[in-house]
Amino acid sequence: MRVQKRSPWLAGLTMGLAGLALFVGRAGADVTIDRAGSVVIFPKVIADGQRDTLITLSNVSNMPVMAHCAYVMGAGFCQRSGDLCQIDLDCPEIEGQPNPCVIAWQAGDFDIWLTMKQPTMWRVSTGRVFDPTAVFDRSKDPEKRAKCHNSYRQDDPLGCPGFFFASAEDFAAGNGGQINPPPFAGNFRGELKCVEVAPDGSLVQGDHLKGEATILTLGSSQISRYNSINVLGAPGDGDSPTIARLNGSDYNACPEAVEMTHFSIDGNNFVAEGIGADCEATGCPVRTELTFIPCTQDLVGSITGEPERTGVGLEIYDEFETRATSSLVLECWSNLDLSQIAEGFGFDGSTLKKTRAATEQDTVCRAGANRGSTCTSDAQCGAGGVCGPRTGILALVEQFFETDETLAAEPTGVAATAAASAYMVSNDSDADIARVGRCRGALSTTCTSDSQCPAGLCRRNSTQGCLVDADCVTTNAQCTGNDDPAPCCSGVGTGTCPAPNAIPENGDICDRCMNDEIFLAEPGF
């Protein structure tokens, strides 16, 4: 009988590899609140005169980190009355005339520097308060300022470490630190995104940023605080300076779905009465707001372009395992009370609801004349068309806990508030949470990195094949012969672009594994 000898070394190697695979293989999507990331997202930022937001942002590394940030205004204004609104129902008719809600959708960007391990914070409504007390403003004392230079880094253009208290001269010189209020300050409701960048403005997948947002109801002590959603970088070879691709190659992908558990419409906070709150008249109901943002955003086109618009499907379960469905339209940013969604959330004898939200796993025109329409090929998207996956979504839930005092005819208090991040979940039978992409030109092929796709196509010059972004340099011929020239061209039918093999600013990119993406304006360093 032949006896087969087993090699203990090889057996150990096999087991070791299997063990490592367990840690790596079952890891979830690295879009998370639990770790620092390269893209930091604050889904709900309010500075509308009734509430204001404090943003804290920090660098967890031992090196300086730069970030390019953008506020995105997501609310709108009633066309005839000018009131802030989110949907048409927020705008009552005026003298029998319709008063639709027009989403403002505008981005305001800025750049920020953080020294090693530095935290910083600013109030959204006013931007950075750079001189709260004279004691800390060394710039007013030239002698002290000189000491600050000498005792820390003489060649540091930021002057004193921690540029929160930088002088007016530093601001004028553009040495970082200045944070302007967002667009429509005083009426701002939207989100904030910050992306880690290098000094030359190129994107960096360093995973060094994290933050929190604290929303205060003005005139009270009531605060909600939530952790930023952080997108971790991926070890890819993306080289676009202005497009963060959440496709598993450059940055990790958004989740397939998000899930939140919250109180039902008119669901009562059954703990409040037990600890002494007055609930006899009202039952202490809880009001819930759900905030959704798209993972894909074109912040470059935000001045003249269109917001990301998609349908979001909702699947709702209550504590009796009763299932309901609903939907809403997400246009740029959506912050809706459950009563505004209504369908599926109506008071039906349940206290809790578990809501799962996801977009369809189909493909839509990402560029071209038919942008936003469903498609299965580039040709269906019109001239310059690009067909790719629909955007994913991220979410936040905030709840408002009322009592008899806060709901009285003359309230003697404000509702308690609390915010929490949504859970990232898988929306199909596998355990993978990350959204899969689609290969450009072979949309039936799913992918989680560029290497899984054949050669791609350039985004702007959509018939040109490519493997990397550098293959998609805009040429002079495209400037002169193209009705929709690249931004590096000086005009329609004229102009030139940088030399071949250079990556032009806001120029063309190579699409292989298409997934969510964030188009950023060029940083101002």
Partner: protein, 444 residues
């Protein structure tokens, strides 16, 4: 010629290189389904002027099957040695001629929760959850929403068929959540996805030839609710709520099904994702003026619990926490604190009993915002932070007074948030480490 031994050595070298190159992403999760949930801060307080309770909410993400969670309350109250009363310090242990000491305690209470498919459920820590009721809103009364058709329940779960589940096919039978052991109460809650029969994690599973371990199906949140009765003549009492997501440990896909949960450490034997080596959180330094409207002062409470716990022998292994604090000037401060069972403290009282002298106080650090890194020695840590604001208000004077009234502190607002993690407590074979970096939870 390559000998077996040489091939083995090459294989081992390859393994080392593979370890160095693989991006190990495993860590704790506050935003994904998990197999173990930890709520680091559960509070109940019964006066005299401040009343607190914690609503625990837990959901199943399983689309079609019941999920059982074996849960454990860990009571971290201190008690007087002479009276047995809950205490904060030894001064509270003077009872007539009897003078006792206030010593740390640590004991556990365990129970099971059975969730139906996709079900959210909630209970208050002071009351618990169990039994059945024909009330329309059973959760509000502390009753199970789906006790089962055999009890004549008017709410069969599900009420209407959903894919893979018949009407009335699932129930919460087997669930009995007790109230916390005493009030006041400070402690934590752990829930482990388990086999309903054995009350242990499913297993053995994941090894070749055995069935797959179940998918991570638990998500959870805590709502810490506070009501304060204020002084007569002051503003009326107000409710405050702070919400945080539970800290989750994901399954690695292998489990031997015993009562010892291997958390991180050796990849060959780890059953759950590792705790972080370092926690990071941003905060406002205590005593700093509210930077939003400048009307209140801020304070932050930090709660830490060890990842390793022997709940069977109830022997507490302390973990040393090293705090590295950075202010906005990039200036660094540090301090240490031992975490025995649970640390729940305003940050300015971690290093001193005099907050204005603390390295966590704005008067010392000179800035408003700070970032703190927490390294742990002797085990991992998880936790949660709570930011609190308190405003001073001018109350109305008595009738007839021209200048009356007084300054009093209004009830504060608070908000809880998660701590981030950096690096993982995972063994790295390349270092030749003998002792495991991982943690271990031994359940009773």
């Amino acid at each position: 010629m390559l000998t077996v031994k040489r091939v083995g050595l090459m294989g081992a070298a390859g393994l080392v290189l593979l370890v160095a190159s693989l991006p190990v992403r495993a860590h704790t999760y506050s935003d994904q389904g998990a197999a173990v949930l930890i709520w680091p801060k559960v509070v109940v307080k019964d006066g005299p002027s401040v009343f607190m309770d914690t609503m625990i909410q837990m959901s199943s993400t399983n689309p079609s099957e019941e999920v059982t969670a074996h849960c454990i309350y860990v009571n971290a109250n201190n008690h007087c040695t002479n009276t047995g009363k809950v205490c904060a310090n030894s001064l509270e242990c003077i009872d007539g001629d009897s003078i006792g000491s206030c010593v740390a305690g640590w004991n556990e209470t365990n129970f099971d929760v059975v969730l139906t498919a996709q079900q959210p459920i909630a209970w208050s820590a002071s009351r618990g959850l169990g039994g059945s009721s024909f009330d329309d809103l059973p959760l509000e009364g502390g009753y199970l929403p789906c006790p089962g058709i055999r009890f004549g329940n008017p709410h069969p779960c599900p009420q209407f068929p959903i894919p893979g589940v018949k009407v009335g096919d699932q129930s919460n039978a087997g669930t009995m959540v007790p109230s916390v052991a005493e009030a006041p109460f400070i402690g934590e809650l752990k829930c482990i996805q388990a086999d309903e029969q054995t009350r242990r994690p499913f297993g053995p599973c994941g090894d070749e030839g055995q069935e797959e371990c179940p998918a991570d199906s638990l998500t959870g949140t805590a709502y810490i609710q506070r009501y304060e009765e204020l002084d007569a003549g002051g503003p009326p009492g107000a409710l405050d709520v702070a919400q945080y997501n539970a800290v989750g440990l994901k399954s690695t896909g292998q489990n031997d099904g015993n009562g010892v949960l291997q958390v991180g450490g050796n990849p060959n034997s780890a059953e759950y994702s590792p705790c972080p080596k370092q926690l990071v959180f941003d905060h406002l330094f205590d005593g700093s003026l509210d930077p939003i409207d400048g009307q209140g002062r801020s304070e932050t409470d930090l709660t830490l619990v060890p990842c390793s716990q022997d709940l069977r022998t109830q022997i507490v292994t302390p973990v040393n926490a090293l705090f590295l604090i950075y202010n906005e000037f990039e200036q660094r401060y540090s301090t240490t604190k031992q975490v025995r069972c649970l640390l729940d403290s305003p940050i300015s009282r971690i290093d001193t009993s005099q907050p204005t002298r603390s390295v966590f106080h704005a008067a010392v650090t000179g800035t408003i915002a700070g970032q703190t890194f927490i390294d742990s020695v002797g085990g991992g840590l998880v936790g949660v932070a709570v930011l609190k604001y308190q405003r001073a208000v001018q109350t109305a004077g008595a009738e007839g007074e021209q200048e009356g009234g007084r300054i009093s502190s209004s009830p504060f607002g608070s908000a809880a948030y998660s701590l981030a993690g950096m690096n993982e407590r995972v063994d790295d074979p390349s270092t030749g480490a003998v002792e495991s970096e991982g943690d271990r939870i031994v359940i009773p």
